[in-house]
Symmetry: C2
DNA sequence: GCAAAAGTGTTGTTGGTACACCCATGA
DNA sequence: TCATGGGTGTACCAACAACACTTTTGC
């Protein structure tokens, strides 16, 4: 314990998206040994004068071109042998991004790809456990905190929102109970405009009012 | 980012105890500059080949002499300037120990002292935020997971248990509702023996049956 | 006029909360 | 016998779950 400490510190990002009505993860293809051909979370080392949170944001920015993305620290993985190439302790962060807004060129450059959450390929090291832990955390939190909106555009419809929740929780929800709960939260603002792309009748758009929510903090879905 | 990474990795332990019917924290007195005279969590650097979890256990063992103590990782604190003496990233762990079982000599040697959770002295660096975060986590979890028993002896009475919960949650609980919930969980085993030290009537001892609980996992208090 | 998705209320059940008195015992 | 903490049951209320039909519109 007295010798000089030789531990590298990294961050890994669990990047969620909601595409084709399914919860998906953005993974990068590993083009080099060891574990070449497997997939992995996008990660990077922490800079000497960089906040841990900033490192996670930088890693995400480099891949997606997106800034000011909502991220949460999940937990830190510190088993001595977790990375066979050396001693690396990694803190995981989960992020939510919109496929429509990110920079597809950058993603191509990194050989990244979206995978539905229940059809993940083989991942390197302990990344699978990292993902599972982040998904569990998301499921625990999504009903009590308005975090899922980061996976939808500003304007969204209630059928969209419900499908998102069903995708995250991986269970069907009752339409009327779901909509009643939404109606009880007055920071869901119903707009005049309708989304006509999914049905003939059209579904009203809603938006989520952060400022109004901040006064109540009673989110519940 | 290309230069050699120079970040030290540490663990800090938030050590809970339940003494004199109050939730307390074990803190160590800081006898050197900077921040001399303030109090701090007990912490230490992670060994090069030591699991992060093991480092937390070692730190706790060195202070208390206790092994196989229940610990949970809380979160990792990685702000670049959190420790003015250098770049240190620290992962916090929370632990629960019994005053009656730990090694008082060791604790004296480290100039450690118990403080009720709502009468904490000034702490160094970001340790106060660490404590707050661990307390919030404990309060969130204590009603759904049987973790509080680590703060009681094997045999405990229901009045004891209720006072523990009231201390943790910092709110009074209804005695009858509390006891009904206990009665619904059949892994609370009522013993023949009574604790006669707190009242004339005496209160029955109970024990918590881990194996039975493992089959149900429906803890709720 | 029909197919396809959007939208709408009621009822039963369950879990939570509030609340006051009797019991056992040692001094 | 009395003071002290231990132990017990019921009634109300709120939140949740289950469930089926009508509306709108483009084709």
């Amino acid at each position: 314990m007295e010798q000089k400490q030789q531990i590298k510190l990294a961050v890994d990002c669990i990047i969620f998206g909601f595409n084709n009505n399914r919860l998906e993860l953005l993974l990068v293809h590993r083009g080099f040994e060891p574990e070449k051909g497997k997939w992995s979370l996008i990660g990077g080392y922490v800079g000497n004068e960089e906040d841990l949170d900033d490192a996670a944001n930088r890693v995400l920015y480099n891949l997606s071109g997106l800034e000011n993305i909502y991220m949460e620290q999940v937990r830190t993985w510190g088993e001595a042998n977790r990375d066979p190439s050396g001693r690396v302790v990694s803190t995981t962060y989960s992020a939510m991004i919109l496929k429509s807004e990110y920079n597809a060129e950058l993603v191509n450059k990194y050989d990244a790809q979206w995978f539905p959450i229940d059809e993940l390929p083989e991942l390197i090291f302990d990344h699978r456990a990292m993902v599972d832990s982040a998904v569990r955390r998301l499921r625990r939190r999504v009903r009590n905190y308005p975090i899922a909106f980061n996976l939808l555009p500003e304007k969204f419809t209630l059928p969209q929102l419900q499908m998102l929740y069903e995708g995250i929780l991986s269970e069907p929800l009752d339409k009327r109970n779901f909509r009643r709960k939404v109606a009880q939260m007055n920071y869901f603002i119903k707009l005049e405009e309708k989304d006509m792309s999914e049905s003939r009748k059209g579904a009203y758009y809603y938006r989520f009012d952060e400022a109004l929510y901040a006064k109540e903090l009673n989110f519940n879905l």
